[in-house]
Amino acid sequence: MTPTSPTLTRRAALGGLGAALAMPALRPAFGQGAPIKVGVLHSLSGTMAISETALRDTVLMMVDWVNAKGGVMGRKVEAVVVDPASNWPLFAEKARELLQVHKVDVTFGCWTSVSRKSVLPVFEELNGMLFYPVQYEGEEESKNIFYTGAAPNQQAIPAVEYLMSKDGGEAKRIALLGTDYVYPRTTNRILRGFLKSKGIGDADIMEEYTPFGHSDWQGIVARVKRFASEGKKTAIVSTINGDANVPFYRELGNQGIKAEDIPCVAFSVGEEELAGIDTKPLVGHLAAWNYFMSIKGAPNEEFLKLWQGYIKNPKRVTNDPMEATYTGFRMWTQAVEKAKSTKVDDVRAAMIGQKLMAPCGYEEEMLPNHHLSKPVLIGEVQADGQFNIVWKTPNAVKAENWSPFIPENANRRR
């Protein structure tokens, strides 16, 4: 996901300011050997701070957790936090700083696709290791990156299939609304290919993009209403990102679009984003993820207890990218223990095939394409801002980072 904002340069100057904010709690009594260093590359200021600060906290929580258990291979783990300030070129500089100055063994970071694309050459050049925890548009594979979020076939396509099913309301027309950048455009391109394969033609697809942070949705919502009044059941697929979601959902509520008439499924709206909205008018609208906070079961309870204990707030919510960070971190500790080394090449080999009973309640496995197998869950917004799971895949789905619905991928290995 790659939002852009006209005011980024303004925050660039804040650069390292936030970095000093957080240093991990140290615990004594570890075996010999220098500490293992974990880099944290998440924006703590600027437009993406809203989403990324929780991921920084998740990594710090996991560092505490592993140190409380006696570290990895008996060595203490130490976090190095830097602040790339929602500034994409600064991401590359900070990645270089982590790898060359701090000599970190592994890095957890990035949210937007553009930030990932910006650090990718750095990690490849210096042979680092990055864990990327957010669902994304696919069409990428690097030996230096492990993708612990969903690929399109683990989120977007099953969600649209659900909308077209009996339980989802048998939608025959789809409005694709998104923020104007690479993630929504690529996802919608894949979805268009998929819809065509299901017999839904261009006349029954509406596609609209808005600038990042768009706040006036009156016209677009009114047009969706009109589009929906042409005799076929309609659904909205939203790849709207970040700040624009709150005004969008407010407008849906105010114009009286009910989920039973025009359901809206979102790919970038989780528990954290709903925290800023009165969700009562939105009950029944949907989100597709691989994890929801409302999942029952011991792995999630353990995760929730850890998080709310760490953040000292029993009301703080968890979300999908946080779960992906947690899963990635635990798999990395397992891989280091298995490889008995923190060298990138050794850990990489040990990562493939790592399994973990993740908080989503399914066993996830790291595949040779550096993506995870994950379950797909569809949740309905509840009046309390949580999601009620209405549909899920019976098993974890293997990631296809190269989508078969993009014609250029026909010759690629999958």
């Binding site: 006209p6 114009q255 039973e260």
Partner: protein, 519 residues
């Protein structure tokens, strides 16, 4: 043989009431099953017309119907839905809904509520049947229409009847229905007609006539709605730019932290709302109360900024620009540290939610309507303050000629501080309005700073009338262009148009004349 079948028929007829009762209890267990079972039994309950179904369905809709581990269903207050007896509710959990169930529920409740003593409920029921419509609804609706006393509710029932007749087999009734739906002229009626068009080849011409008549009334309505959307966007721009029209337009200070004052106003709204939450009679009034609070908070911040920093930089626009830029970042990060990076929820009071239907079927959203009213009120307030108060007089005097004003005994430094505080306070009031449509987050203001400068420069620096006309023009042009060009390109077009306009008229729409403008 004949007698036997006759007797059997008689027996069946006698057993009918009992069977209906059985059917009610037989339909219930499905509610404890999967979503498909729930939807099916909801439909059954609606079709039965048994009044005992009503409390069950209502509880289901409200999320208060509970199921126990052994499949019994409990109404609120732990009464068994099947027997009506008190029951043990230990370990019961709520029956969940999905959109398919909600759809079925709407239709079923509609049928059962058609006999409700409450007119509003009957109206809602007619609306629900209009959406769920089936051929079986025709006799039920005809009976309901015959005994309906309320004309408004009756009209809605007649429309629902038309919708149901459209899917019933009677050709003659269908023609009637098509004409009535055409006369209704709503988007929903058009949707039904388009759907029916494919299924009824013999009626295509009649349907097309009706659709065309709906299209005509819709196009007028659409134009009115676009105009409203443009005015609404314009009023938001006006609110955001008014404070700047004072600080930049009157004082000439390029204040890049203007957006952050708007943001402070929005956070003040949040704080007032939280403070009022504990006091039930005050809670609905938290939003009006926020207006003075937001004004004071932002004005105080503005006064501190002017006295502390800006006054040392008068006549040095570049340094002012950079310095206020920095102040803006500090304010943002400060708010992020205090309130967190997450959005804060400011709820809308009930009178600001939903859609208002104007005569002619024009739909306007309530919150937008109130923001237009608020924008006009703030504009009048600013004009009145400048025209009719002592402070306004001194302010105009200082702007026109600082040295003569000083010799007349006006403390110019104090007036500067008050003027800047006034402009900042107006920005704070804009924040109250924006908290109703946008995120209350530390980044709130950054989205409006460019637009605000654009409005002030386009309208003419120093002219409040220019700010008003500029804001409304930009809003309407943006909304008229949007359907053709898309939201992104519409913005680009507007920017290009303003660049060309400024080339021709560098002083904007309403240029100040006279000596003051030359300096």
């Amino acid at each position: 043989m004949k007698n036997l079948s006759l007797a059997l028929g008689l027996l069946l007829w006698l057993a009918l009431p009992a069977r209906a009762q059985d059917a009610f209890t037989a339909a219930l267990p499905g509610l404890a099953g999967g979503f498909g079972d729930i939807a099916a039994s909801v439909e059954q309950l609606g079709a039965l017309g048994d009044p005992r179904g009503l409390p069950v369905l209502r509880a289901l809709q409200a999320g208060q119907l509970q199921k126990t581990a052994d499949g019994r269903l409990l109404l609120p207050g732990n009464t068994d839905a099947a027997t009506g007896q008190p029951a043990d509710g230990a370990g019961a959990e709520a029956v969940r809904l999905n959109n398919r169930v909600r759809q079925a529920l709407r239709g079923a409740l509609g049928r059962l509520q058609l006999v409700s003593p409450d007119a509003a409920e009957r109206g809602a029921a007619a609306e629900a049947i209009f959406r769920s419509r089936s051929a079986e609804d025709v006799p039920i609706l005809q009976a309901a229409i015959a005994r309906e006393p309320d004309a408004g509710v009756k009209a809605r029932m007649v429309l629902a009847l038309a919708a149901a007749q459209l899917v019933a087999p009677n050709e003659e009734a269908k023609r009637d229905a098509i004409a009535r739906l055409g006369a209704a002229g709503t988007v929903e009626a058009r949707a039904l007609l388009i759907e029916a068009r494919a299924a009824n080849p013999s009626l295509v011409t009649a349907i097309d006539v009706s659709i065309a008549s709906i299209e005509r009334s819709l196009s007028i309505r659409r134009a009115a709605e676009t105009l409203f959307q443009g005015l609404s966007l314009g009023s938001v721009l006006l609110l955001a730019a008014l404070g700047l029209a004072v600080t930049f337009g009157v004082m000439g200070v390029i204040n890049m932290a203007h957006g952050e004052f708007v943001m402070l106003g929005a956070y003040a709204t949040f704080v007032v709302q939280e403070a009022c939450r504990g006091i039930p009679w005050l809670a609905p009034w938290s939003l009006p109360l926020s207006v003075p609070a937001a004004f004071l908070v932002a004005a105080a911040a503005g006064a501190v900024l002017e006295r502390g920093l800006i006054r040392h930089l008068y006549g040095r626009p570049l340094e002012t620009l950079l310095m206020t830029f920095g102040v803006g970042m500090i304010l943002q990060q400060g708010v992020r540290t205090i309130f967190g990076a997450q959005n804060r929820e400011v709820t809308s009071p009930a009178w600001m939610q939903g859609t208002l239907m104007l005569p002619g079927g024009i739909a306007v959203t309530q919150n937008r309507l109130w923001i237009i009213v608020f924008g006009i009120a703030v504009l009048l307030l600013v004009i009145a303050a400048i025209r009719f108060t002592r402070f306004g007089l001194e302010m105009r005097a200082v702007v026109q000629n600082r040295r003569i004003a000083a010799t007349m005994g006006i403390r110019t430094g104090r007036v500067d501080a008050l003027t800047f505080a006034f402009g900042s306070g107006i920005a704070g009031m804009a924040g109250v309005a924006l908290s109703q449509i946008d995120n209350v987050s530390p980044n709130l203001g950054t989205g409006y700073i460019i637009d605000s400068f654009m409005v002030v420069v386009f309208g003419g620096v120093g002219s409040l009338a220019g700010t008003l006309v500029g804001a409304l023009t930009l809003g309407v042009v943006n909304k008229v262009l949007e359907p053709y060009a898309g939201a992104v390109l519409a913005k680009v077009f507007v920017l290009v148009a303003i660049m060309l306009f400024i080339q021709r008229r560098p002083r904007g729409l309403f240029a100040l004349k006279g000596r003051a403008a030359e300096s």
